[in-house]
């Protein structure tokens, strides 16, 4: 293996690698690789055809390049598109059958999967490179008719649901990375909440990239049927390597009449080292459709990792009275770059959207908020409120706010507020005078700055996220 593992350092404590034998698809992107993926996943024919259709499309389109962070050309032929621990070939039926090395990995990441140690109140789907290795609390959820499994399993066991909804929010023709994902996606989670059911626990997926020179193409599909509710959280980490690794996920959410989906992300992919070497390219397409009346989709993201974060979790507000929310914290330090925000597409009447974005930039980093609020002619009496705050540390970093607003009717109101400020030296002095060291002081002030967003996270994860906010900025003020 030519890639060198970087030494562990205290800054990124998830940077270790698990030494495990894996099965890989041959390197490169071609029909054979796609067939390999489909076959190893024992997919039905329609699925393979769907993938190939996407691949055909892919050959005729180009990568977008309007984003602020530029990156060197990605050699798509030099990547592995499938990598799975050998032991997962015949997917274990119970947790006792999982390779202990994998269990140990998740334990190290703070996600115990074993029966006795499971996180209480949180069901976890654990995705290791290209496969889901375990899903906890399945029985308890099944009792309520909730389906929570890997997308691979759903394709086999619930094809009618998958066929109906997959690609219905992000069409396979959408854009380069979405199309690429549609062709080669490997695993991710599938959630179906039946009519009228309130999911009794947090559902969560933990994504781990382990293999080198491997792209992770996660696919997640969440359907909340009429009058149902679910809160879902994803977390992600990867080893420290001096190569850039691609994570191009597609996440689709569908909320029917009176349903609510709360989707939270704590993204902590390896950000690269102090000099900007290595790190994950996090190029993700996340989109939710509020298809039914009175439905609601709420995105909360805490983006602290990745060399480049490029994503716009969006809401298509089709149903009358539907509500879309986007709460975001994007922290960039050293040479990290982020271009993130949301799209709120108002189609139904009386639709409401709310955008709260907190960007924090330190070191030589660059942070862009980019957002679209589009209120169609028919979306009468709609409302949007947007607030974008940027906080800068030092004078080598950048913050940018790029709002696009299209209000096409006279009865709707769009409000936009934006602020940019430097971390206040007097506030730091005040904290220091009370005995807090520089790092704790920064963490406290920044957490205060992000509070409105942190409050949106499920309790179980809020504390973890607060710590992460502090850690991500370590060493940012001298």
């Amino acid at each position: 293996m030519k890639q060198q593992e970087l030494k562990k350092s205290k800054e990124y404590k998830y940077g270790f690698t698990t030494d495990i034998e894996s099965i890989k698809a041959p390197k490169g992107l071609n029909e054979d690789v796609i067939k390999f993926i489909s076959k190893i996943k024992k997919e039905p024919k329609w699925m393979l055809e769907w993938r190939l259709k996407a691949f055909k499309r892919l050959k005729n389109i180009k990568e977008p390049n309007w984003q602020k962070p530029k990156y060197p050309k990605i050699d798509y032929q030099n990547l592995y598109y499938y990598s799975a621990p050998k032991s997962s070939k015949n997917k274990p039926k119970s947790l006792d059958e999982i390779d202990p090395k994998i269990l140990e990995t998740y334990e190290k990441l703070g996600i115990p999967l074993k029966e006795q140690e499971k996180l209480s109140g949180v069901a976890v789907d654990a995705v290791f490179d290209s496969v889901s290795v375990a899903t906890t609390f399945k029985d308890k959820l099944t009792e309520k008719g909730i389906i929570f499994c890997s997308i691979s399993e759903a394709i086999q066991k619930h094809p009618e649901l998958v066929r109906k909804y997959l690609g219905s929010v992000i069409p396979i023709t959408d854009h380069y990375f979405a199309t690429l994902n549609s062709a080669v996606f490997t695993d991710g989670s599938f959630v179906y909440i039946p009519e009228g059911v309130r999911c009794p626990m947090e559902l969560s997926t933990y994504f781990r990239i382990n293999s080198s020179e491997t792209g992770q193409f996660e696919r997640t599909l969440i359907i909340a049927d009429k009058g149902s509710y679910v809160s879902y959280l994803e977390g992600c980490t990867a080893p420290m390597r001096d190569e850039n690794q691609l994570h191009a996920a597609n996440v689709e959410l569908i909320a029917l009449d009176d349903a609510e989906i709360k989707y939270s992300t704590v993204q902590n992919w390896y950000p690269g080292d102090k000099n900007g070497k290595g790190g994950i390219y996090n190029f993700v397409t996340k989109r939710g459709a509020c298809r039914g009346k009175n439905s609601k989709i709420s995105w909360t993201q805490v983006e602290t990792g990745s060399a480049i974060t490029w994503k716009y979790p969006s809401c298509i507000l089709q149903g009358d009275n539907s509500v879309g929310e986007f709460y975001s914290i994007a922290i960039t330090n050293n040479y990290q770059k982020a271009d993130t925000g949301t799209k709120m597409i108002h189609i139904g009447k009386n639709t409401k959207s709310r955008i709260i974005s907190k960007g924090i930039s330190a070191g030589n980093a660059d942070n862009t908020y980019r957002g679209l609020v589009d209120i169609s002619k028919k979306a009468l009496n709609s409302r949007n409120y947007t607030q974008c705050d940027s906080l800068l540390m030092g004078n080598k970093c950048g913050a940018h706010t790029v709002p696009y607003i299209k209000n096409k009717n006279y009865s709707s109101i769009v409000e936009h507020e934006a602020t940019t400020s430097k971390i206040n030296e007097d506030q730091l002095y005040y904290c220091n005078q009370r005995g807090l060291n520089q790092e704790d002081a920064i963490s406290l002030i920044v957490n205060g700055f992000c509070k409105e967003v942190l409050q949106q996270l499920p309790m179980e994860f809020a504390v973890e996220a607060q710590k992460l906010v502090g850690i991500s900025l370590e060493g940012s003020v001298g």
């Binding site: 206040n424 007097d426 506030q427 002095y429 005040y430 904290c431 220091n432 005078q433 009370r434 005995g435 807090l436 060291n437 520089q438 704790d440 406290l444 002030i445 957490n447 205060g448 700055f449 992000c450 509070k451 409105e452």
Partner: protein, 244 residues
Amino acid sequence: MLKIKNLQASINKKLILKGLNLNIKEGELHAIMGPNGSGKSTLANVLSGKSGYEISGELKFQGENLKEISVEERARKGIFLAFQYPLEIPGVNTNNFLKTSLNSVRKAKGEKELDALAFLKLVKEKSSELGIDEKILSRQLNVGFSGGEKKKNEILQMKILNPNFSILDETDSGLDIDALKIIAQGVNTSRDKKKSFLVITHYQRLLDYIKPDFVHVLSEGRIVKTGCSELAQELEKTGYQKLN
């Protein structure tokens, strides 16, 4: 406790303290008065270690050279500054701030950190002594606090951290007469043989309630006169003009 010899301090090339001498022994309370802009807050900042000052002269606290020690280390060694203008920190819960602060200091001293319950008990006790409505403590730190509430909050922090050297920078300014009495009482109950205070004020009124051992007049970066509490009364009548 504190020994200052020929202290000079400048900021942005402007000399503000111009050879200041001051000795504060354990258990003593010193008051500093002086016209606006004479360097009182600068002295407080230099003592607590705020960065940005160019400093020469001797600065010793409990025998240690303060110049080498960071702001937070000084705080942990027991130097406390009640700010003339307490800072607002949006999004930070006041109680949480107090607890983080107390536990940083305790940890540095090798004491056990207080858990939430023990901490709340302590806060309850100290805030009721100071007549602070506990509700404000669950609000964001100093955000939207009235002038008087901010000042009281500073004294609450002093009572909770229990430092051995406290600098009060115009804590009495902007307080109503009842609040002034409460705060004075708060200081008085903290006084003991081991603890020292430096009280910066413009008003002799405060010194009716807090009896200083010494009163100094700071003018243009120097202590130009030192006396006992009668000096404050004298100044109240004559002003600073005559001293120059």
